[in-house]
């Protein structure tokens, strides 16, 4: 039941190593601090879940951020009402976002293609507006849902945990704080589990059925195959992944804001998946890392830092280079991201993963090439 093919096993091993050694290989890139690495892991989970729906069934959901938001709010409420322990909070977040996905999926999946996308977008925007204003007693609106010292926390009260904390209570995993690097490793382990789960889904008959739906749903239906339960299951699973990601966002940083549900966030996860490679295992993860890297590191580069970096150039040239580059960093980080997105969509429709495969194929050809040359040489 837990077995994987040899190829998948290697992929999982490589993936685990890459994820767990993040603090080392991200250091030269200026991104090895817990806050960002947690986001890397969390958004990778979000994108992996999204890819199960979009990559396998071809249903493009434009409202996935709603599930992320629902997961976040549920987690903070679990912290407020039940316990500061992360396990019940995560379980609740996954269940609630699953139920939420079931309801939205039940209605949206009656349509396909662009109509499905618009329906999910409408539901998500509705959730966002509700969270931003109407449901303020539950979501605390613009300010975002925060923890308070005098929250009831009934489970903790029963077990007498966290009774005497000076400041705000912190989320814990069986008594251990999950801030900083601990929080990152928690997210990393969950990311590896999520990756493994997506490998299992990709390799299963269920995954095969989903691929069938993607390539020709009408034909599937004519052969007597009821596709509705399959698409709905994929939608719910993918919603639960998003809920889990939302839960982790609230665990590593106990605040849930309505902006998490905005359509731009839903758009972001689509970008992540397309950038990396739709329908591939690694693609969404790479895409998520890339976008988060741009959002956090590129946006923080200012002219001062550029001037320092190019101080070796002569004065006039330095001024010119800095003026040109400063349009692409800092406040212009979205421009860089947009350009890159256009280039990738035009030249590498399969995303970065396709680029990697092409590159490897070229290497292999070059390696093989000299042999071919030698074999065609006429014998003396």
């Amino acid at each position: 039941m837990f077995s994987l093919s040899r190829k998948d096993l290697v992929a999982l091993a490589v993936f685990s190593v890459v994820v767990l050694t993040m603090p080392i290989w991200l250091a030269p890139l200026g991104a090895s601090y817990p806050g960002l690495m947690q986001k890397f892991a969390i958004y990778a989970i979000f994108a992996i879940g999204f890819n199960i729906l979009f990559g396998l069934t071809g249903y493009l959901s434009f409202g996935h951020a709603a599930f992320l938001g629902v997961g976040s709010y549920t987690t903070v409420w679990a912290f407020k009402l039940l316990s500061m322990d992360v396990l019940p909070a995560m379980v609740f977040a996954v269940i609630v976002s699953g139920v939420f996905a079931l309801v939205i999926g039940y209605f949206s999946l009656r349509r396909t293609g662009i109509y499905f996308s618009i329906l999910t977008l409408a539901f998500a925007q509705m959730s966002y507006s509700l969270a931003y204003s109407v449901l303020t007693p539950i979501t605390n609106g613009e300010t975002g849902l925060l923890l308070a010292r005098n929250d009831p926390r009934y489970l903790d009260a029963i077990f007498g945990a966290q009774a005497d904390v000076a400041g705000l209570p912190q989320p814990t995993l069986i008594g251990n704080s999950v801030s900083g690097y601990t929080g990152f490793y928690l997210c990393a382990v969950i990311l590896i589990l999520a990756f493994y789960l997506s490998q299992k889904i990709f390799a299963s008959p269920f995954g095969m059925a989903l691929r069938g739906i993607k390539s020709n749903q009408t034909r599937m239906n004519y052969t007597g195959f009821n596709t509705r339960p399959y698409t709905l299951a994929a939608f719910v699973i993918s919603g639960m992944f998003a809920g889990l990601a939302g839960a982790l966002l609230s665990i590593t940083d106990p605040l849930a804001g309505a902006e998490r549900m905005k359509w731009t966030e839903s758009g972001n996860v689509v970008l992540m998946t397309i950038l990396g490679g739709v329908g591939t295992l690694f693609g969404p993860v790479i895409g998520a890392w890339l976008i988060k890297y741009f959002e956090n590191i590129f946006s923080a580069i200012n002219t001062n830092m550029l001037n320092n970096a190019f101080s070796f150039l002569p004065d006039g040239v330095q001024g010119f280079v800095v003026t040109v580059l400063s349009k692409f960093v800092g406040e212009g980080w979205q421009l860089t991201l947009g350009l890159m997105f256009v280039l990738i969509v035009v030249f590498l429709p399969g995303g970065l993963v396709e680029g990697f495969h092409r590159f490897m194929a070229r290497l292999r050809r070059r390696k093989e090439a000299p042999e071919r040359v030698s074999s065609t040489q006429p014998a003396e």
């Binding site: 960002l36 204003s133 609106g141 300010t143 804001g257 902006e259 406040e331």
Partner: protein, 447 residues
Amino acid sequence: MATFRTNRRTLLKGAGAGIVALGAPHIFTKGAWAQNFCNDPTNGKIVFGFNVPQTGSYAEEGLEQLKAYELAVKHINGEGDGGMLNTLKPIALKGNGVLGRKVEYVTGDTQTNTDAARDGARRMIERDKAIMVTGSVTSGEAIAQQSLCQEMGVIYMSGLTHSNDTTGKDKRRYGFRHFFNAYQSGVAIAPFLAKEYGTDRRAYHLTADYTWGWTQEESIKNATEALGWETVATVRTPLGLGDYSQYLTPVLNSGADVLILNHYGHDMVNSLPQAVQFGLRDRQANGKNFEIVVPMFSELMAVGAGEAVKGIIGTSNWQWSLDDEGTKAFTKAYGEAYGAPPSQSAHTGYVQAILYADAVERAGTFYPPEVIKALEGFEFDGMGNGPTVYRDSDHQCFKEVLVVRGNENPSSRFDVLNVIGKTTREDVTYDASIFGGELGPYEPNEC
């Protein structure tokens, strides 16, 4: 004859006393030893984190604020003409950096989004080792960063944030606000409304449907009803609406003679011109001229609203055309550096950075609890707002609030608002307990 006999009991007593005696110095010096706090800059660089929206709906105000922060760093480090360092009284800063060392800074983009704001603040604290984070253009950003900074044990000086919650129910020990709030707007504007429009008016509110809009609506409603005004209706409008005609039509037949727009930013830039184009200001209602009030004004919004802003009354935290020494010094320095007069968003950011640096200088240490104590209850003058106090019970600054009116004959693109009066600090001071909330502990967390 004295005999020294030790039994078990005296031995235990003695041992106990000895332990207490040996331990006592440690208790007294504990404060000193405990001073390894988050991002202690004693052996590293002194880094300030400037986290403002550079993209998104409030990018313009965010970028102005960022420029002002960069100017503040220059002045603190003794470059340029020193700006308000020449007018702040009392001042501990010497124009040679903070505690004799130069200040550096990092910047971030909050995207007008609480999640991105917290991501940015965490990067500054965890990677760039910022000792202080500052900047915001919405209350959502400010409150999100403030609560994060409390958890990390890093001081947060908020930028532009007008909601009562920032220093009300969501106040934090590590968060400080120089900007005024919705409650003060209500109190400040009321006497001027009475003077201009009388005490027998019927008001109709259009309110942006989120936390800030609600607190402002409540504050203005209370203040105007105390004047004797009647509130006809309060209608919520969704945030980011482009076309307000469906909300403006009912105003005509509501029997109201004043429209109060609790809108900010793009909402106000859209709703005010549309209300004017609707002909509301040319109307007569209940035998009086129909009036429009925008309680919270900013010059960037006024520029955006164009002609429509002429004659409209509102409140403001600060205005570059004031004629006190601090304002002149800041406007001159900012104008020389960037070629335009600063907005109130720039002003509050600049002041916050200087006040933090000055508090560190006075405390003689970067240790946050000492800096917080130096800021709490600090009385100062010469920052453009007259005598000001940082109240210790909620970390809100108390100072005069300006009542402004859209300029009928602007002499330049920047000359859009006229100051028609100031409401004194005593009048806008309120009891800190009315909003609830708690500040939390002084002791920093390890980050």
